[in-house]
């Protein structure tokens, strides 16, 4: 799997801590099982040695924590970032959410993370997962070991990985990859080709499962407002009631709209949804439209780029034509 191992990261982190260049490290901490890894802050070598974890389940995108964490002390923070995390990192820099000097980024290579929910479809009550070049062996409590192909247990965001390129790093482990032409819009096109009634039923079925827990908003690195409109009682949309289909539609359209043009397609929203609603398909629809209407744009590709919704040209597409071009069998 990655020839860069946990120990490489730990020794480098210990060096940086010892040299005083950074005063704390944002990494992951082991839990009860192999997959329940929690983002955690390490300040000394001893806790790093004991608890630091890095492997197939360190999928959490840590860039959002930096907004809060950089305010807490003057020192630098060391943070390990997969390629897709660095896009969110750049997008947050574009929006001046923290200053670049307070963060020391080490880019780590990534061959795609594993998704515990997809593993559980194949192997119930599993406790440990070992992955190597020819696949993944999952050892379960009652059904012995289950051999699986890696692509069966990778989340959609990794199967349709858009880029192995680190767009921001102070130091890089392993060599840098490039952007990949992935089929990340296939699913969106499949939905677009449905008839309006089918599309409505599909989304009503998906969104009706929403339990309004706000996990998708709270984990999204593009959603970093100090005070979200959904937490503001007199905004009228704050309604916590999963009362009927309208509330869910309103919440998800507005959530996706607020990150339109800024969403880097990191897939965190779908990773954390307890009801496994494919929320990335909403954000990807906006990305596909923006690329189609206003030219290829990847949020976070470079710091300071002007997001599509705060920019314009005099010959943009008219809204009435925008929808006609949507699908063939309109």
């Amino acid at each position: 799997m990655q020839e860069i191992t946990r120990d490489t990261l730990i020794s480098r982190a210990k060096e940086l801590l010892a040299s005083g260049e950074v005063d704390r490290v944002y990494g992951w901490k082991r839990g009860e099982f192999c997959y329940d890894v929690t983002p955690a802050l390490f300040t000394d070598a001893e806790s790093l040695e004991k608890d630091f974890e890095w492997g197939d389940f360190c999928g959490a995108n840590l860039s959002k924590y930096l907004v809060e964490e950089t305010r807490k002390s003057e020192g630098k923070i060391l943070v390990f970032m997969k390629p897709c995390d660095t896009y969110s990192f750049n997008q947050l820099l574009t929006e001046h959410r923290f200053d670049r000097e307070k963060v020391y980024v080490i880019g780590t290579p990534c061959a795609g993370m594993l998704d515990p929910k997809r593993i559980r479809d194949h192997a119930e009550s599993f406790t440990s997962v070992v992955s190597d070049e020819n696949g993944v062996t999952v050892s379960t409590l009652f059904d012995g070991d289950v051999k699986l192909d890696r692509s069966e247990v990778m989340p959609d965001r990794c199967l349709n990985c858009k880029s192995k390129k680190h767009v921001a790093y102070d130091e890089l482990f392993g060599e840098d990859g490039g952007t990949i032409a992935s089929g990340r819009f296939d699913e969106v096109e499949k939905i677009e080709k449905m008839t309006p009634d089918e599309r409505f039923e599909f989304w009503r079925g998906e969104l009706s499962r929403c339990i309004r827990c706000n996990a998708c908003r709270d984990v999204c690195p593009a959603c970093t407002c100090e005070k979200c409109v959904f937490d503001n009682p007199n905004s009228g949309v704050e309604n916590k009631a999963a009362e009927n289909s309208f509330e869910e539609q309103m919440f998800h359209i507005i959530r996706a709209f607020h990150v339109a043009g800024r969403c880097t397609d990191c897939g965190e929203c779908s990773r954390v949804c307890p009801q496994q609603i494919p929320l990335h398909l909403l954000n990807r629809k906006f990305i596909k439209d923006i690329d189609g209407f206003y030219g290829e744009y990847q949020a976070g590709a470079e710091v300071g780029s002007r997001a599509p919704l705060v920019d314009y040209t005099t010959e943009d597409i008219e809204p009435s034509d925008a929808v006609k071009g949507g699908d063939e069998n309109a």
């Binding site: 009860e32 929690t38 806790s47 499962r209 706000n214 996990a215 916590k240 009631a241």
Partner: protein
């Protein structure tokens, strides 16, 4: 002990659905969920549903009353209606225990009539687990998955489901469908059920969380744990979303809000989460300013405050939903293991 073979299960469901609304766990894209039974619906054999059965008694949103106002006058409209009878099939032992936890909260003086009415009209078919998941720890709270409570206890073996009515409500329902579900004369029911109980208790011992214990917790431990240094490292990466509280079968907190629908004002109740930043915010300030205090409140309530008010019963049933659903994989098991261990050891 009554028996129904698996191939005639649909007939059984149809018979019960003839008497009252029946809900069974059905597989959906988001894991198993309770849905109203319709002919041909296939029961999911997943271990547990994503949303617990709490929703049937304490729904996420519920209209309490309506107001009509003209000028200075107000008219209060009581929208409470007698609920229809309904039955929920396939409730696991942990979720059945969560009803006891909720009962103490809602039915204690002064009783909540919305909840009470639904409780009276609900019949619970509890289903013993056969294959617990690694995230299960119901044993820690004294729940025996092999002998769940509930109105009618069911055991599912390879070819049949054995049912035993435990309460009067359950017995009435079983009698009303007795033509489909015959009494098990052959007697092999007992042995099949006991064999299954053996398997479950064996498996429970092998679970990774089997040794988790609640000895250090309880109603009198407020001072001991309130200022524990471990809270800082436990809560540092908590996002403050409401997932753990909304998938939890025993979370009881709710918010009361008014919705001006134009044609009248509806006062409704909806689930609320102590993890949300607005939970205790008031015009005079906010007693729980940071996420650490909110995080602490949630687990202190489950392990200390609730037992203090309910003679020792914990407000957690070990169902494991928060273990698998938390975006950053922080949960009550890690809290129980790390609290009181001299903070620095946050392993």
């Amino acid at each position: 002990m009554r028996k129904i073979t698996l191939d005639r299960l649909d007939e059984f469901f149809a018979a019960v659905a003839g008497k009252l609304k029946l809900y069974i766990p059905v597989d959906t894209a988001g894991g198993a969920q309770f849905q109203q039974w319709r002919a041909g619906a296939k029961m999911s054999d997943a271990l547990n549903t994503t949303r617990s059965a709490k929703d049937f008694f304490f729904p996420q949103t519920e209209n309490l009353m309506e107001f009509k106002t003209e000028g200075k006058k107000i008219e209060i409209i009581d929208v409470r209606r007698e609920n229809e009878d309904f039955a929920i099939f396939g409730v696991r032992a942990c979720d059945v225990r969560s009803f006891d936890v909720l009962d103490r909260a809602f039915l204690s003086e002064p009783a909540d009539t919305y909840y009470q009415n639904r409780r009276e009209h609900g019949v619970i078919f509890s289903l013993a687990c056969s294959k617990p998941a690694e995230t299960c720890f119901c044993g820690t709270f004294g729940i025996d998955p092999a002998n769940p409570k509930g109105d009618i206890v069911c055991y599912k073996t390879d070819d049949a489901i054995y049912m035993e009515a435990k309460t009067e409500k359950g017995a009435n329902l079983m009698d009303s469908v007795s033509d489909i579900v015959a009494e098990d004369e052959g007697g092999d029911g007992e042995s099949a059920v006991n064999a299954q109980k053996e398997i479950i208790s064996e498996r429970m011992k092998k679970l990774p969380l089997a040794s988790l214990s609640t000895d250090k917790f309880g109603g009198d431990k407020t001072a001991k744990f309130f200022d524990d240094p471990a809270w800082k490292s436990l809560s540092e990466s908590c996002l403050g979303c409401g997932t753990c509280t909304f998938v939890c079968p025993t979370c009881q907190c709710y918010d009361i809000k008014d919705f001006n629908a134009g044609n009248g004002i509806k006062r409704f109740r909806c689930w609320d989460s102590c993890m949300y930043s607005e939970f205790t915010k008031m015009s005079a300030g906010q007693p729980r300013l940071t996420q650490l205090e909110r995080f602490r409140q949630r687990f202190m309530h489950k392990l200390v405050y609730y037992p203090a008010n309910n003679d020792g019963m914990f407000s957690c049933v070990g169902c494991g939903r928060c273990l698998s659903k938390c975006p950053i994989q922080m949960n009550i098991v890690k809290v129980m293991k790390n609290l009181g261990e001299g903070g620095e050891n946050n392993g």
